[in-house]
């Protein structure tokens, strides 16, 4: 359609606020981040930042601490993403097969999603305290353990609590997303499969899964991003202790920038995370395409 000059001006007016905000507060920082990642910039050298090429990237990639925190992030993602998806899908399937009363369950399972990270983290910290309710339950009520378990004091204990929190908080989102997808699967497919004598397992793997493949991909991409995005729970539950062993990439980046003052290092680290996520997203899309 041809637009008159006035139409073009109006489009411009509609675009302008978005472009201004997006450009100034998102695009410009990304460009600045890239430049910063190439500079030597520590506390005290705010004024004279010198360009040092990819030295910061080398420092990040060869840093032993980075290997630990990157490993933590990968493990966090590898465990929480499938965990949330499987549990979310399972609950969605169950709710979907309820003949009545779906809404109360939908609301109840969604509650953790709307609980803020700060609050959820504090509740988990309180429950998993060495002197907390859970240890009392394990030791004194069901006698599973003789001694209080140091949940928050070791690398894997701390990570386990954070991963449990991440999964707990994400099930509801997956449930809603999968429930919506399940309701779009044509019932005729199941009916004709039933005529062919297919059992529930066959129906699930041959009809349900292929029909909701688009949703699975969507959830996979979003949750992977979410896995790399974890910050608040680690910050509030263990704060990286003991000795940065429970840090993840974002808490480590924040520590390097705002506590240690290594802005160049932190900027390079940020860029590496962005690149890793972009590559992962592309791979995930490709994998799903190939299966089709």
């Amino acid at each position: 359609m041809k637009l008159k000059a006035k139409g073009k001006i109006q489009i411009g007016v509609l675009l302008l606020p978005g472009l201004l905000i997006f450009g100034l507060f998102t695009v410009y920082p990304i460009v600045r981040l890239f430049i910063m990642s190439m500079t030597k910039w520590d506390f005290g050298s705010f004024a004279n930042q010198e360009l040092i090429g990819f030295a910061n990237y080398m420092e990040v990639l060869t840093d032993k601490d980075f290997h630990v925190v990157f490993g933590n992030t990968i493990i966090y993602t590898l465990i929480t993403v499938p965990g949330q998806m499987i549990l979310g899908l399972l609950i969605a399937l169950l709710i979907n097969s309820l003949l009545r009363g779906q809404i109360p369950f939908r609301v109840a399972y969604y509650l953790p999603v709307i609980t803020s990270w700060v609050i959820a983290s504090l509740v988990f910290k309180y429950v998993f305290n060495t002197e907390g309710l859970l240890n009392y339950f394990l030791c004194n009520v069901i006698h599973l353990s003789k001694q209080n378990i140091h949940w928050l004091d070791t690398r894997w204990g701390g990570m386990a609590v954070a991963m449990l929190l991440g999964t707990w908080k994400g099930i509801g989102w997956n449930m809603v997303v999968f429930l919506a997808a399940l309701q779009t699967v044509p019932l005729e497919l199941y009916e004709s499969a039933a005529l062919d004598g297919a059992n529930s397992w066959h129906k699930f793997f041959d009809i349900t899964i292929p029909s909701i493949r688009g949703t699975i991909l969507f959830a996979l991409v979003m949750l992977t991003i979410g896995g790399f995005n974890v910050y608040t729970s680690i910050k509030l539950i263990t704060d990286g202790k003991p000795g940065h062993q429970t840090d993840v990439v974002l808490t480590w980046m924040y520590y390097k920038a705002f506590s240690a003052g290594k802005f160049g290092y932190a900027a390079a680290l940020s860029f590496i995370i962005a690149i890793v996520l972009a590559i992962l997203a592309v791979i995930q899309f490709r994998l799903m395409e190939n299966k089709e």
Binding site: V13, T130, Q147, D153, G158, K241, P242, F258, S259
Partner: protein, 435 residues
């Protein structure tokens, strides 16, 4: 007609956007008095009204913070019409971080209460005001304060702060726990280690109890043990750590910590541990090393709990505690007149006496002679202060501190031997000191 109305709405929306985007056109240093300026309607305000920002690490729910906001600041504002004080409480580690960040953005407060161990670092960053050069009545003010405490704010002959309070840590112990275990108050480090073991175990309710609690593994926590056992962090000139931080004595102190932790006799620095005051007050930790503020804290939270204090157990280095204390300093972006007035007020005898009631040992000589202070029974601390040492007064102390705590964490968790960890640390600290 309609179209015009719609365009007007869009325009209004855009204007409001640009208003947000540009809401910080002014310089960030212009003090804004949105916070707590309840009297803005009184009509007394003149154009000379200023608000100074004061950052501190009196914890938000403490008696000190209450005294500051309810007693001292109102009094100061009454005495100095036109000056408002906006006090902001940060957690100790956060305050350090916030100052570093704010220095980058030139959004520093006017005045801050600084752990004296930070002064060299901030001096090196060039953000503190040399008071003896810029304040004409500096000599008068400083002569009213304790000389020993004033040296904590001195770097290369220039003075970057006024001594606000001094302190050190002494041994706190649970009277009943020691009696039940049938042991005397430990006076030597060997007795201390022994007592930790005897005081740990399980109580009648089947809960684990520990002989001693140490809430972190930084220099503030470890130095009393390192020094008392004859070790050290650096040489006298503070230029070298090899041979000091990894000396046999220092390693022995770290080893003692690790062994006691392995025996479940001490704890406290883990994320899942009971906080210090709660653990002490409920009988889960039998001993602590803590400063004078603990008295007010215990009175508030566990008023019926019976405890006593004693000197830090002595090793072959003597009974040496760590010198604490805070300075009140001014940043170079401050409103200097108002900031200086506030600093003089806070180190004056009135404010110092009020703070002494919450367990802050004054640095003001007049306040030290007052009845309040004499009744506060600071004697054990003042005695311990005679031998207390300060942590290395170097600009890279914060970095050394976090490297130390990382190294010791690895030792107590059994990942490295004390000797290996301290050898590695010595190399690292040498490099930091050389910078």
């Amino acid at each position: 007609m309609k179209k015009k109305k719609i365009s007007a709405i869009a325009l209004a929306a855009m204007l409001s956007l640009t208003a947000f985007a540009g809401c910080g056109g002014q310089s960030p240093n212009v003090s804004d008095s949105t916070a707590g300026s309840s009297d803005s309607a009184s009509g007394n305000e003149t154009s000379e009204d200023v608000t100074i920002n004061f950052w501190h690490h009196y914890s938000a729910q403490s008696a000190e913070n209450e005294t500051l906001t309810e007693v001292l600041i109102p009094k100061f504002e009454e005495e100095n019409p036109g000056i408002h004080v906006n006090a902001v409480s940060h957690e100790w580690a956060d305050l350090h971080e916030k100052i570093l960040i704010s220095a980058q953005s030139e959004t520093l407060p006017d005045v801050a209460r600084l752990d004296s161990a930070w002064v060299p670092e901030f001096e090196k960053m060039g953000i503190l005001v040399p008071l003896n050069e810029e304040m004409t009545d500096y000599a008068d003010v400083s002569s009213g304060l304790l000389e020993s405490a004033m040296t904590t704010a001195e770097v290369d002959g220039k003075n970057y702060g006024l001594a606000l309070n001094t302190n050190t840590k002494i041994l706190y112990y649970n009277v009943e726990a020691l009696k039940n275990a049938g042991i005397e108050v430990p006076t030597t480090m060997d007795e201390f280690a022994d007592a930790c073991k005897k005081l740990s175990g399980t109580n009648e309710a089947g809960q684990q109890v520990w002989g001693y609690d140490e809430p972190a593994l930084s220099g503030w926590n470890l130095c009393p043990f390192i020094w008392s056992m004859g070790g050290s962090i650096t040489n006298e000139e503070q230029t070298k750590a090899s041979g000091y931080i990894n000396s046999a004595e220092t390693v022995a102190a770290i080893q003692m910590f690790a062994d006691l932790y392995q025996d479940n006799a001490i704890t406290g620095w883990n994320s899942g541990d009971i906080p210090m005051t709660d653990g002490f007050g409920t009988g889960r930790y039998a001993m602590l090393l803590e400063g004078p503020w603990k008295v007010a804290e215990m009175k508030g939270a566990y008023p019926d709990f019976a405890y006593e204090t004693a000197a830090v157990p002595a090793g072959k280095g003597g009974s040496i505690s760590v010198l604490g204390g805070e300075d009140i300093s001014m940043f170079n972006t401050a409103n200097k007149d108002a900031a200086w007035k506030f600093m003089k007020f806070m180190t004056g005898s009135y404010a110092q006496e009020e703070m002494a009631k919450c367990g802050q040992i004054p640095c003001n000589k007049e306040a030290l002679e007052s009845d309040t202070v004499k009744n506060a029974d600071f004697a054990p601390y003042i005695e311990q202060l005679e031998t207390a040492k300060s942590r290395p007064t170097v600009a890279c102390w914060s970095e050394i501190d976090s490297a130390l705590s990382e190294a010791v964490t690895a030792v107590v968790n059994g990942e490295k031997t004390a000797q290996d960890a301290m050898d590695e640390l010595a190399t690292e600290v040498d490099a930091l000191l050389a910078e």
